[in-house]
């Protein structure tokens, strides 16, 4: 209070000297704002305790955390020839500390990738990796690690998550590990796409499953470390050489800016600059062939170790959509778990609203929401009448993200198996599943889909910048539907329209291959239905491939067949790898569903045999490279570092703004009130003019 009185006296003195009034007000504001005392820091001990804690990594802008970890630089070369992509990933680990280091890097790869090469570059020397059974490889790696030799190990933890271990990186030096894999390009009509994942979405593991050990991956996924996405620690440079085999009409990179170079009409080169991006969304390239330039079928073959392999990619003739329309029952399932929070849920809601708009009046629909529980909008599928659609729209708009991802409950609700069979009446029953697939108990869910599918078809829509592709694609395959990925909100309408066009009617079902010959293996054994724009992809192994293959199927209720000649197939490498990868995948699916220990063991052995023959990394085999010359003096210790993955877009968290201007407002307000009162009082004094005490007037 005395402060304010003094202020008034001071301001009166200013007034007498004829200074500007605004000057006084500013002074007052400043003084009032700083009138509060300065507080002191709490104890320093806690600060260091928190920083040193293993549960919490705090990164300070001024680098106070000071944790020295190996840096990683990845260089990716992708060669696409026709439907196959060969990818070479060079990971350079540098060790900025002054101690010997071991680096552990866990990273995603496409779900259908077949890792078959590992090289370790030490100076001028290159040491190639060998494929070994997982336990043996692990033992060899550990032995080399203890002995101070440089060694690298590549292992698979889930179908799309791999890890590299590198032992004995000298202080202040770097080590490069190159791994190679093969994957298939995805074809939709005359549009092709390739994706290279750059980040991992943290997975949800139901708690009771953790207890019983049902999660099949051998490292708990929850341990995958994640660094603040704001810091681009893991720079990735991508170089893509695209030989499509036909004239291109369009070529685009979806989420990153790339520089393009044209070699000729069908041959382009793309480059992603590591300086210009943070690896927090998948790298997706799409290209489209000029009409009529794209062949209807690609057929390739290869001879390897006395056996013949072939890869077919066939595009059946498309259906005119207007000619054929069937009433449908559509069930939309939307994931509202905590992991969908923010951008992902906004995309999913937009997609769902768009999908509801597209419903035909003959269609019936229902919406199921799930997180830790699952519940539906209507008790059963209802007509897409105006009021029902309006109700659905309100329901969707009110959805919020929270809780866990108990997908099983949603699947139980959506796929009612028997009930769907009772009530088909010539209607198609389609289930549209919108999720980021942030789960790690895939196998039991696949079993549910298989058991309860009935005559329904399951379509998965992957949401967010890094969804679990393996789960989505596999679930759609088991559900005899398709999978589509929506990576950003601006492509929601386009992708949903595409999906609807595609699923309006199956182009072909009950597909089978007929070929004569001995000892023939076709993968996948069960060929899925084909929807509009989808290509049939089959890999074949035989002792002796026949001259031709007959392809049979049902097209709009009529039988259809096509004869493909294998004699003219173009020979090339990598076909056996494509077959082995598909074969291993189907054996693993079978194994995942099997409860009998003996048959599981037998299936495991089959996988190991194929993997060793074809030099592939699988859940049961790993690649290991060991330099025979010991480098590290064994007396010096080895430090273990985990390299952090960048968090997907939209999930990093900083601190909120937690102060209001409440005190400033209240105190300045009070001050000004008092001052105002004083001025009014003074003006009254002046008017009375007989005041002799104050000379201000």
């Amino acid at each position: 209070m005395t402060c304010i009185v003094r202020l008034i006296a001071a301001s009166l003195r200013f007034l007498r000297r004829g200074r500007k009034r605004s000057c006084r007000i500013v002074t007052l504001l400043v003084l009032a704002a700083s009138a509060h005392a300065v507080a002191e820091l709490p104890g320093k001990a806690e600060e260091s305790a928190l920083l040193g804690s293993a549960m919490l990594a705090l990164k300070f802008s001024d680098g106070r955390a000071g944790i020295i970890a190996p840096q990683l630089h990845s260089k990716v070369d992708i060669h696409v020839t026709g439907p196959i992509a060969r990818v070479r990933v060079a990971q350079t680990f540098s060790n900025p500390s002054n101690a010997w280091a071991e680096a552990v890097y866990t990273f995603p790869l496409p779900p259908d990738s077949a890792v078959d090469q590992l090289q370790m570059h030490i100076g001028e020397r290159i040491i190639s990796g060998e494929i070994q059974e997982r336990e043996v490889a692990q033992k060899n790696y550990q032995k080399a690690r203890q002995a101070g030799q440089q060694a690298a190990l590549v292992a698979q933890h889930r179908p799309n998550i791999f890890s590299t271990n590198i032992a004995n990186i000298p202080p202040g030096e770097e080590l490069t590990v190159v791994l190679e894999y093969q994957q298939q390009v995805i074809r939709r009509g005359s549009r092709y796409s390739l994706h290279y994942p750059m980040s991992i979405t943290p997975r949800y593991t139901p708690r009771h499953h953790l207890a019983t050990g049902q999660v099949t991956g051998d490292i708990p996924l929850t341990e995958l470390s994640i660094a603040p996405a704001a810091v681009n620690t893991n720079a990735t440079e991508i170089w893509l050489d695209l030989q499509a085999g036909f004239e291109l009409e369009e070529l685009e990179s979806r989420y990153y800016f790339v520089s393009k170079t044209r070699v000729d009409d069908s041959h382009w080169q793309l480059r992603l600059d590591p300086q210009t991006h943070s690896a927090n969304a998948d790298f997706v390239v799409e290209w489209q062939g000029r009409e009529l330039a794209v062949p209807q079928a690609h057929v390739f073959s290869q001879r390897f170790a006395g056996q013949e392999y072939a890869l077919l990619q066939v595009m059946p003739p498309q259906v005119e959509l207007e000619q054929y329309s069937q009433p449908r029952d559509i069930v939309y399932v939307i994931d509202t778990s905590g992991s969908m929070g923010g951008e992902s849920l906004r995309q999913a809601k937009r997609a769902l609203l768009w999908a509801i708009e597209r419903l035909d009046e003959n269609d019936r629909f229902n919406i199921i929401e799930f997180n830790s529980e699952a519940w539906s909008l209507f008790d059963t599928e209802r007509e897409a009448s105006g009021s029902n659609v309006a109700r659905a729209r309100r329901f969707v708009k009110g959805l919020e993200a929270r809780g866990g991802t108990e997908m099983r409950k949603a699947l139980d609700l959506a796929l009612c198996g028997v009930c769907a069979d009772n009530d088909s009446g010539g209607r198609l029953r389609q289930v549209l599943f919108l999720t980021d697939g942030a789960i790690s108990n895939e196998a039991p869910l696949f079993a549910v889909i298989k058991a309860r599918l009935g005559n329904s078809r399951l379509f998965t829509v992957g949401i967010g910048s890094a969804p679990n592709h393996y789960f989505m694609r596999k679930a759609a395959e088991m559900g005899r539907g398709t999978f589509v990925h929506i990576g950003k909100i601006s492509e929601v309408e386009e992708k949903i329209t595409q999906l609807f066009d595609r699923i309006d009617t199956p182009v072909m079902n009950d597909i089978e291959l007929q070929l004569r010959g001995e000892n023939i293996d076709i993968s996948p054994a069960l060929i899925p239905d084909l929807y509009s724009g989808e290509a049939l992809v089959v890999a074949i192994r035989a002792d002796d491939l026949p001259q031709q293959i007959t392809l049979k199927g049902q097209r709009q209720g009529e039988s259809w067949q096509q004869v493909l000649s294998l004699a003219t197939a173009s020979p090339r490498g990598g076909i056996r790898v494509a077959w082995a990868r598909k074969k291993i995948e189907s054996i693993l699916d079978e194994r995942g569903m099997s409860r009998d220990n003996e048959s599981r063991q037998a299936l495991r052995q089959q996988v190991v045999d194929i993997a060793l023959d074809h030099h592939l990394v699988t859940p049961f085999t790993s690649l290991v490279a060991v330099d025979k010359t010991p480098l590290r003096p064994t007396a010096e210790g080895l430090k273990n570092h985990a390299i952090k993955n960048n968090l997907p877009k939209g999930t990093q968290f900083g601190l909120a703004r937690t102060a209001t201007a409440m005190d400033v407002f209240i105190w300045t307000g009070r001050g000004m009130l008092l001052l105002g009162l004083c001025f009014i009082w003074l003006s009254r004094l002046c008017k009375r003019k007989q005041n002799a005490l104050l000379d201000v007037c």
Partner: protein
């Protein structure tokens, strides 16, 4: 004459100044009152918000579905924070945006869900809901009740002042709770550069 003249000049100047003083006084009164009310509004919003939100929370406990405190709210109650030693019971809102924090402490949606594995991050305003944070001592217990009715008991393990631009890495190996507010507590700067963090570890849970 001279004295009269000079007297008139003095008088008119005095009158002019008196009028100006009056207007200035009223203007200051007006501005002061509105500023004061603005500050009071923040306080009122915080208090009344908690009351309405508390009702919505109880309703969602009964019905098991999301209940917004008022129909145009862009946030909703997600958990209940109780600190018996401080006599504090507050409802935590979803999201840590300014709109949410005006009405109650907010849960950062990118952090772990209340009661789940990982770091649960809850922020509150230094001036209103989380003013009590300065009195919270180590080993005091915090009970967080989530939307499914699960209570998790956390024990305060440390307190710390950090820069405002730190980034928190979620770690799923431990269950912990972080309460965050602005620091220093008795400053009135509206956007300070430091945050005060109370870090607590889960010790127990019950339904």
């Amino acid at each position: 004459m001279l004295s009269n003249d000079s007297g008139g000049v003095v008088k008119s100047r005095r009158g002019w100044r008196a009028v100006w003083l009056k207007y200035l006084g009223f203007a200051l009164l007006l501005v002061g009152a509105s500023l004061w009310m603005k500050g009071g509004y923040i306080y009122l919003k915080a208090e009344l918000g908690q009351y309405l939100i508390n009702r919505a929370w109880q309703q969602s406990q009964l019905t098991g579905s999301v209940n917004k405190a008022w129909f145009w709210a862009d946030t909703w109650p997600i958990a209940r924070l109780e600190i018996p030693s401080q006599g504090i019971t507050q409802i935590v809102l979803a999201g840590d945006s300014g709109q949410a924090l005006a009405f109650g402490p907010g849960h950062t949606s990118a952090s772990a869900q209340p009661g789940a594995d990982g770091v649960v991050l809850i922020s509150g305003h230094r001036d209103t809901h989380f003013r009590f944070l300065q009195f919270l001592q180590e080993d005091e217990e915090i009970i967080l009740q989530n939307w499914e009715g699960q209570h998790t008991v956390y024990r305060v393990s440390s307190r710390q002042v950090v820069d405002e631009d730190v980034l928190i890495t979620n770690n799923n190996n431990a269950r912990s709770l972080m309460l965050v507010t602005c620091w220093p507590f008795d400053s009135s700067a509206p956007n300070p550069r430091h945050r005060f963090i109370v870090y607590a570890q889960a010790v127990d849970e019950f339904f």
